[in-house]
């Protein structure tokens, strides 16, 4: 049973560019959440997708957008990259109505903006 798969694992982009990160959830999970984790800090919630709609959003600007596909996979898009967007981006999948089971995380995408 595959866990959460994220691609790519590492990425280097130039300030002002756009980036797309991809996530395949754990088999059976219907909800995908994205987190930004700066070095040495806890993950910060970006947004959550369920039934192909953004259900919740954290304190992130509109430059951060996402999408969920019918097969539950998801993309995170960041436009007009800033140096401060350099971080580990984690994707987590879960069941929408089973909070007790927690989230299953991928290994993340390390984004470096230069």
């Amino acid at each position: 049973d595959a866990g959460v798969t994220q691609s790519p694992t590492h990425l280097i982009k130039t300030r002002g560019q756009q980036v797309t990160l991809r996530c395949s959830p754990k088999s059976g999970h219907d909800t995908v959440s994205w987190y930004q984790q700066a070095l040495g800090q806890g993950p910060q919630f970006i947004f959550q997708y369920y039934e192909e709609e953004e259900r919740q959003r954290g304190n992130f600007p509109d430059r951060f957008s996402g999408h969920q596909f019918p097969n539950y996979s998801s993309e995170l898009n960041v436009n007009a990259l800033l140096l401060g967007d350099s971080a580990l981006y984690l994707c987590a999948s879960s069941f929408f109505d089973r909070a007790l089971e927690g989230y299953t995380f991928g290994s993340g995408t390390r984004l470096t903006v230069v």
Binding site: Q41, F45, Q48, L100, G102, Y103, G108
Partner: protein, 115 residues
């Protein structure tokens, strides 16, 4: 808004000894769950242990146990017989018992295990 606080940025323990990591949280909800996640250098978050707020009994998973004090909003993790493989960043996390709730993390505690 719910907040989770981990006041120990770093902790160290000798192999085979016991260590306790602290976590406090703030919420106005009565129904919620608490988790401890481990993040080794491989970066993947691994669920260590979970606690249901309505249960008074503290959760245990092999060498890992929690001390859950609901009134004090405290949720500490005890690791017994520490092993070198326990070295990692540990995060305390909170989620409401509601469909579609978001998982909120603390700042993390870096645990070092000395041989």
């Amino acid at each position: 808004a719910q907040t989770v606080t981990q006041s120990q940025p770093e902790m160290s323990v000798q192999e085979a000894e016991t260590v306790t990591l602290s976590c406090t949280y703030d919420t106005s909800e009565s129904d919620y769950y608490l988790f401890w996640y481990k993040q080794p250098p491989s970066r993947q978050m691994i669920l260590v242990i979970r606690q249901e707020a309505y249960k008074q009994q503290n959760a245990t998973e092999n060498r890992f146990s929690v001390n859950f004090q609901k009134a004090a909003k405290s949720f500490s993790l005890k690791i017994s017989d520490s092993q070198l493989g326990d070295a990692a960043m540990y995060f305390c996390a909170y989620i409401r018992e509601t469909s579609g709730s978001r998982l909120t993390f603390g700042e993390g505690t870096q645990l070092t295990v000395n041989p």
